[in-house]
Structures are given as C-alpha cells and as structure tokens.
Amino acid sequence: METRMLQSAETLATPKRRKLSSMRKRQIRAAFLFILPGLLLFLVFNLYPLIKSFQISFYEWSIMPGRASTFVGLDNYLRAFQDPIARLSFRNTLLYTLITVPGQMTLAMLAALLLNQLGRGRGVYRLLYYLPVITSWVIVALLFRYMFQSPNGFINYLLVDVLQVVEKPIGWLQSAKTANIPIWVLGTWKGIGWSMVIFLAGLTTIPNDLYEAAAIDGAGSWHRFWHITLPLLRPTVVFTLVVLLIGGLNVFLPVVLVTNGGPLQQTEVILSYMYHQAFDFLDFGYGSAMSFMMAVFIIVLSFIQIRFFRQPEEIR
C-alpha cells in the first residue's frame, strides 16, 4: 500500500519530487536502523545455523574436534528414504498433526463458545482452561506418563473401575498400537487453551445485534454458528490453523518426554528421531538431512495452505 501511495505521489507535480526522494532516503535509513538489531540477531543465531545445518546434511559430519568430515552428497537423504524408522517417524508426525490439530481446534472452539456465554467469572474459567498451556512440558509429560501407566494408572482406573467401559486395563505405553494415544492426548490437552483464548477474543468482537437479528429471523444456534460466527472468525481460524499445523509438524517434546520414541521406536517422530541420531549416535549429517526433508515438506504445505485459505486479494 505504501508503495502505491508513493508511486502515485511521484507521478504528481515535479517540484515535490526532490523533497520526496529525500524523504525516501530518510525512510530507507530509518528502515535499516529499525530492522538492523533484530535482523543481525536473526541472521547470526537463527538463519546461519540453519544454512550450516543444510551443509551438514551433505556430509558424514564429525563433530569431534580434529576429525574430518566426509562429503557424501545425497547419501543421507537416500538413507532416510530407505530407513523404515524414518518412514515411520514421518507417518507419526503426520498422524500427530492430523489428530491433534483438528482436536485442539474443535475443542477450543467449543470451549470458547461456551465461555463466551458466561457473564461473571469468565476470566477465572479462561485462566483454568489456559493452565495446561502455561505448565512446563517436562512436568505435564511426567504426569501423563504416570496417568497412562498400566495396569495401575489413573486412566485405566477411570476406564475399568469408574466408567467400566473396558474389562482389562490397557497397556497404553507397552504396545506400539496404543503408545501414540497418550502423546496425542497430551498434545491436544496442552494446546486447547491457546486456541481458545484466541477464539474467545475473536468472538467478543462479533456484534451482538447480528445474532439478535438472526434470532428474530428464527435461525437456530447451529445456523447462527455456521452462518455468522464462523465466517466472521474465519481469518482467526485460518491463522490458528496455520500456527498449529506448523507446531504439530514440529512435534518433539511430548514424544521425547512421554515415550522417548518407544516401544520399539514405534512412536518416533521426525524431530525426535533426528535428535536421537544426532545426539546419541553423533550422526549429525543424517539428522540434518531428515529435518531438512521435513522442513521442505512444511514449507510447501504452508504455501499451499496460504494459497488455499486466503482470499486472492490477501495473497502477498
């Protein structure tokens, strides 16, 4: 928009041109002063390590001082395609995302709609729902491990003794088939509050008279949600979705802290497997290669999303 304004200004009367160009210079100078400190930090501590990591992915990289690293071309990438655990961790990463992101968003939306109906005490409820977000991963992961223990864990106690929906305790963390579930539950539970707070803020900006008008027209609550709330919240929902998807594909801590990839490395995700290869076997080249494949995947996906969700005029 700025450019457009400047451009149109430039086509105006010539006497102003000189002043404008000096203003432009001034703007450029100011711009660099504004971005320089942040940009410098970003370049040195963030971008440079990423580029370096990209370089490492083409080497059999030795981190021991004094040992040589060998250039291996695409070997690390090819290896990832053949490694069954790498494929499995890719699948687990996708599964985690496909399950926890919609889970978080649906539950967060329900919670936001509910809390939006409350008068007094809404702030307290909001804090309660937000508590999981602000508690350390380390602690909640320990807790979840304990809750999902078998046979004598809290979840089994609920299912077998209280609700009586299953006969025998489930060995959550002992079988590859079920060990992902505690991770998914943890990821969802810990994230609900974050999305909810954002949705709730969005809901408060929707003018009440819209609902009242709809109510007079006899629209049911489902209809109101679908035709008023959701369209108006759409940008917020899209934003949350993009952020959660990135977060979901970057899943690391819940896996490392709850199952550490086990049993049998069946719950590894890309980043946990990369960390395992890098820091347990010092295979930094392989680790980097895997994480870059993931990064490329995420970037492509994100751009597709942005194309898909944003209105054409919003694409920049």
Binding site: R24, I28, P37, N250
Partner: protein
C-alpha cells in the same frame, strides 16, 4: 415473560455447569499435582488418587524452595525469560514497524526469508547453534541463551506485529512527520503506546515459551549453577525413585511467575488477539 426469564436462568446454569465440567477435565492433572505436593515423603503417587491428603504438609514447598539451588535456578530462569521477553518485544516491534510502514530495498526478500524460517523447526539448527555458541564463547552463559531465545522467536513475533501495525491508521503518523518529527518519535510516542494490546500478547506468549524452554537450555548449559528451572526440575526426577511431592511442589512454584504475567497482562488479550495477524 417469566417463563422466558427462568429459561434463561436455566440455560445460564447449564452453561456454568458445562464450563465447570470442562474446567475439571482441564485441571484434573493439576489437582492431582497439588494434592500430591502436600503429602510428605511421597515416593509413590497414591492410587487410586486421593484428593485430600491424610496429613497435609507444606514441607515439600519449603524443601523445594530451599534445597538444591532451586532459588538460583528460579532466578536464572527469571533473568533469561524477562530479558528475552523485553528484547524480543522491542526488536520484533521495530522490525515489524519497518516492514509495515517503510519502503526499502530488499524488504520483500528479507520478509520472505523470515517467513520461510518461521516454518522451519528451530531444532534443526541446534547442532550449528551449539558450535556457534562455543565459537562466540556463549556456552554456559545465560546471555547466550537470551540471544538464542530472542533470535528464535523474532520471525513469529515480527510476523504477528507487522499485521497489527498495518492495521493502525497512519494519517496521524504522517502528520507528525510533516511537522518535523522523526520516525523514532512516532514509533516510541505513538505506535508503541497504541499497540499495548498487541505487545502484551506477544509478551505473554514469548515469556511462556522462554520460561518453559527445555532443549536448548539442556544442550547449551553444562554448568549446574546456570541451569534453568525446567532442566533442574527434570533432574529431580531420579533414576531410582522420585520424590513426587517434592517434584510437584517445585513445579507448582515454577508456575507462579507465568500465572502472574498472564493475569497482569490478560486485560490486553482481547484487544491484542483481535487485530493484525490473528485476523488473518
């Protein structure tokens, strides 16, 4: 009419009931934590869980607070999280403002790169980051952690704030400029005060992230005196037996600062979360 009013009352009651049920599920693990933290010498988490401990005691809190350098770790975490939050809010705001308002060569490219990095998991760079920290003598240094934390969250926060600044009306700013004011006066006197909600939002999210950060702190810091809380608390969890009451008491103390930050800044939440990037 009376019927209508009582129906509303009933409805409102239902809402509160549902909200309370939901809250109960959300905080269930905490309740468990809290009740265990009041039990003395708890090497085993009681099963089935008992909410009110038989002989409640504050000794775990006392012991956690006074033992094992806990206060030092607490100070370390506080120092790192507060410094990083202040820095990241300031630097991201400056960058975001430049991207929102100024026209300068390379703008698109730089912003594109920042956006790209935003999508890439931070963890990928941890190995070179580690080597960099060593070269720059930032290993075992809380300042080093600050640098990594700040740089790591600049992309997201710049992206958020840029959207917010773009939504601010710029007529006033132009007026100041024509009156001979500098960009810095505009930024510090007008833009920042107007953006309190957005800045508060960024501050809450960032502070929480820094306070909870685990992997980088674990990887970069060897010196036990420079440990941060999550790493310290994780190490309370012993290889042979864990005194759960102590671990949970320590974790509950660790939540306090985040709750305080949240409560003191939450009134800005609504404003901060409904403009700019959150709106798409």
């Amino acid at each position: 009419m009376v019927q209508f009013a009582s129906r509303r009352k009933l409805l409102s009651f239902m809402y509160y009931l549902l909200a309370t049920l939901g809250a109960a599920v959300m905080i269930l693990p905490f309740v468990w934590m809290v009740s265990t933290s009041f039990k003395e010498h708890a090497f085993v988490i009681e099963f089935p869980p008992r909410l009110i401990p038989a002989n409640p005691t504050l000794s775990n809190f006392e012991q956690a607070w006074t033992a094992n350098n806990f206060q030092l770790y607490f100070r370390n975490s506080l120092l790192v999280a507060v410094t990083s939050t202040l820095l990241v809010v300031l630097l991201s705001a400056m960058m975001a403002y430049a991207f929102a308002r100024f026209e300068f060569p390379g703008k698109e490219l730089i912003f594109f790169i920042i956006l790209l990095v935003l999508f890439v998991p931070n963890l990928i760079g941890i190995i070179p980051q580690f080597l960099l920290a060593k070269t720059l003598n930032l290993r075992n240094s809380l300042i080093g952690l600050v640098f990594f934390y700040v740089s790591g969250s600049i992309p997201f926060n710049t992206f958020l704030l840029r959207g917010f600044f773009e939504a601010l009306p710029k007529e006033l700013e132009e007026a100041v400029l024509i009156d001979g004011g500098s960009y810095f006066t505009i930024f510090s006197r007008m833009v920042l005060p107007l953006s309190k909600p957005a800045l508060a939002t960024v501050a809450i999210f960032s502070f929480l992230g820094f306070w909870d950060e685990y992997v980088q702190s674990l990887t970069f810091i060897d010196d036990p005196l420079k440990r941060t809380l999550p790493v310290a608390i994780a190490s309370f969890h012993g290889q042979h037996g864990t005194e759960w009451g102590l671990v949970f008491a320590a974790s509950l103390i660790a939540i306090v600062p985040v709750v305080l930050v949240y409560i003191s800044l939450q009134r800005y939440f609504t404003g901060g979360l409904t403009t700019g990037a959150f709106k798409g």
